[in-house]
Amino acid sequence: MASIREQFEIPGKLKTWSYALIGVGVLAFILGLVTKGIGGNEHDHNVFIGTLMYNSIFFTLICNASMFFICATTLAMGGWQVVFRRIPEAISTMVPIFGSITFVILLYIIGSHNHHIYHWLSEEAKSDPVLKGKLGFLNPTFYITWSVLTIGLWSVLGARIRKLSSEADDAITMNGEAGQSFIWRNTVSAALFIVWFALTVGSTVPWLWMMSIDAHWYSTMYSWYTFASSFVSGMSLIALWVVYLKNKGYLEYANEEHLHDIGKFMFAFSIFWTYLWFSQYMLIWYANIPEETIYFKHRVQGPYRGLFFLNIILNFVCPILILMKRGAKRNYTLITFMSVLIIFGHWVDFYQMVMGSISKEEVTLGWLDFGIAALFVGLMIFFVAKALAKKPLMPKYHPFLKESIIHHT
């Protein structure tokens, strides 16, 4: 009976990589700040802020998707995910960090009255017949209050669930009543998180943070679409960490059976994203009402045309063709490749959602975007690795752990 490696030790190479990425990111940030943020014209300034904005929102949401995954599987009484449950837990520790960064950026936009990004901040909005009617929702006070509540509660409720999970590390048996009570308390906490998640990611927050950039435009699907995009990327992020830890010789009990199921989530939610994408696009196209089609005008017929199709290729065509096969979902290399592709694909999706509205005339995708993304990836690697090293990699006495060990698809 071999003992297992429960404690993650951060490899030097991983640290180096995270420092390098953070270095590149900081450099890009400084260069961007100098050339665009301060140095450039107004348009450059907005592009700079917009780049920070969509990156921070994207990375916050995909890390928060990990907590959503934990809560959804907890509520569904899932057992299969327990052996690797600590990975999404570690990823979700990023929510307060990335959430704060996002908040600072959003606060700056509001504080500086940047009405090129949020048109509803301008003086004209008060006399615009449509916008003035929306000011009850689109106003700095509500925006800031709601954002604080959102990020705050995500962080607090998430921390509560992670703390609860630590109880499963102690060598007390989790059978019988102790186990029942543990599952019960997990369920209650997960339910609280899910409800708050539905009221934020599932509805208000994407409207407030992103949809209101096109202040006149609206689509009831917008938030669910954003959720699908961030959840499928979140699953891919979990897959990447699972594969990484497996390759380093950790997570003995996780095997291709678990990977297969994560792969199924990646596949299914790629199709789900496409379903929502199609529903939103087709209904707007079919009805052909100018105030709705205007959102797609420069995305389909203007400079964003290339990205518009790239979005569909990366996020639909590739996943359906490559992940359809059973073997693909059980193959470490292919899952790694697809995870990177899907995260990149949805990053592009967020890019066009935000920048497609801020910079309508030209696509500015370039060194700054990749640099800022590198900053977030670097920070993510650094902090997630740290969080992983803090706790055993497996909740050893979780009542469903044994189901997870013998899990087969």
Binding site: M1, A2, S3, I4, L75, A76, M77, G79, W80, P129, L131, G133, K134, F137, T173, N175, G176, G179, Q180, I183, A191, A198, L199, G202, S203, W207, Y218, S219, T220, M221, Y222, S223, W224, E252, Y253, N255, E256, E257, K264, I271, Y275, L276, S279, Q280, L283, I284, Y286, A287, I289, E291, M394, K396, P399, F400, L401, K402, E403, I405, I406, H408
Partner: protein, 481 residues
Amino acid sequence: MHLKYESQLREPLVSGNKDYHQVSEDICRPIEVKPTKLWYVGFFIAITFLCFGVYCVYREVTYGIGQWNLNKTIGWGWDITNFVWWVGIGHAGTLISAILLLFRQGWRTGVNRAAEAMTIFAVMCAGQFPVFHMGRVWMAFFVLPYPNTRGPLWPNFNSPLLWDVFAISTYLTVSLLFWYSGLLPDFATVRDRAKTKLRKMLYGVAAFGWTGSTKHWQRHESLSLVLAGLSTPLVLSVHTIVSFDFATSVIPGWHTTIFPPYFVAGAVFSGFAMVQTLMLMLRKVFLLEDYITMGHIEAMNKVIVLTGSIVGVAYLTELFMGWYSQNKFEGYTFWYSRANLFSPYGWSYWGMMACNVISPQIFWFRKLRRNIYVTFFMSIIVNIGMWFERFVIIVTSLYRDYLPSSWSPYYSPTIWEMGFYLGTFGLFFTCFFLFAKYFPVIAIAEIKAVLKTSGENFKETVGKEEEMQPETFAHEYAHAH
């Protein structure tokens, strides 16, 4: 060593001291004994409703659509409301068999057979409404795009109404195949137990000569998986396309992009409510409490509170956008025609909200989820609420359109319009009573498959694994990779 292990914390899926033989006995019993008085009374009532429905349809076909209270403004009324309502109900069966299979929800085995049967009967009922709403029902075949002698007259492929024809007929076909292929081994069980020649022959034919050989099981398993794969997108596509009937238009209250997923969630919601209604009766009448346990009922109530809340978020999203869009027409529809309790149809909107969003929230409480009376009452409430939803969507959007001169007076259905609806209840329950009498209402073979992991008596014997340290357990049982 391969181990069938399940945590002791999970409730058994089959309670009581059952072995394989006992399972066959319990489930086949209702087929093998004479029907009870209760069955005859129920069947007779169902047939009566069906006959009245047939008479109502006869009147509509003979005298025309004027038999109903539809008018130029409210061109869709009870008929399409009922259509969408039945289609929605017809979602639970395939969701249970296909999607819950993919999610490996063991409890589906207790309810899948009856839920699938219900699905098929519900879709059959749904189909009646658009067909007879055509008015000249003898022209119904025009919707089929076959090579014809009508020259350029060809179905309009741009119309979501035509997509419906394809979506629903495909759904019915695949659901039927899925249901029937699952029935094969169980028909064989009934055949093998038969005491009379006629019975043996009839069930023998129905079982397609099933012998239970390994080869048969192998093919059966792969067929099930293929059909599950095909059904999964169908569960979503049918109600998505039904939602397109509304959402592709520019009618305020209909043209909203969230419609497709929200319709699907609503359909699952109503489907589970109907499954709950039927299952609670079935387990009581046929003494199947050991197979459809409180655990099953609780699981379905969880689905109800989940989908009810998703639908709730969608309702509020729409209502919010009705204001946020600052579009006068959307605002009028949502805030005047619907959310205003004192507008002509305000009652239906609040009825919908109360039944679908507010009342299911009681299922956050475990005690109430596991209370049979509360569950039964709630299942009826949800069925009513989902009918209101479709009525709200259709009538409150149509009755006051862009042109005030064509606004409609208050719409209430004629007795024939209502009779048609009652008739579909007759059809539904006639089919269901026949099903309950002649078919195994629970999937015998599938129950046997979960018995050794999740049966109460088997779970009691697994104590050793529960006490093991994870390392020892893994060493003993985890398969090598």
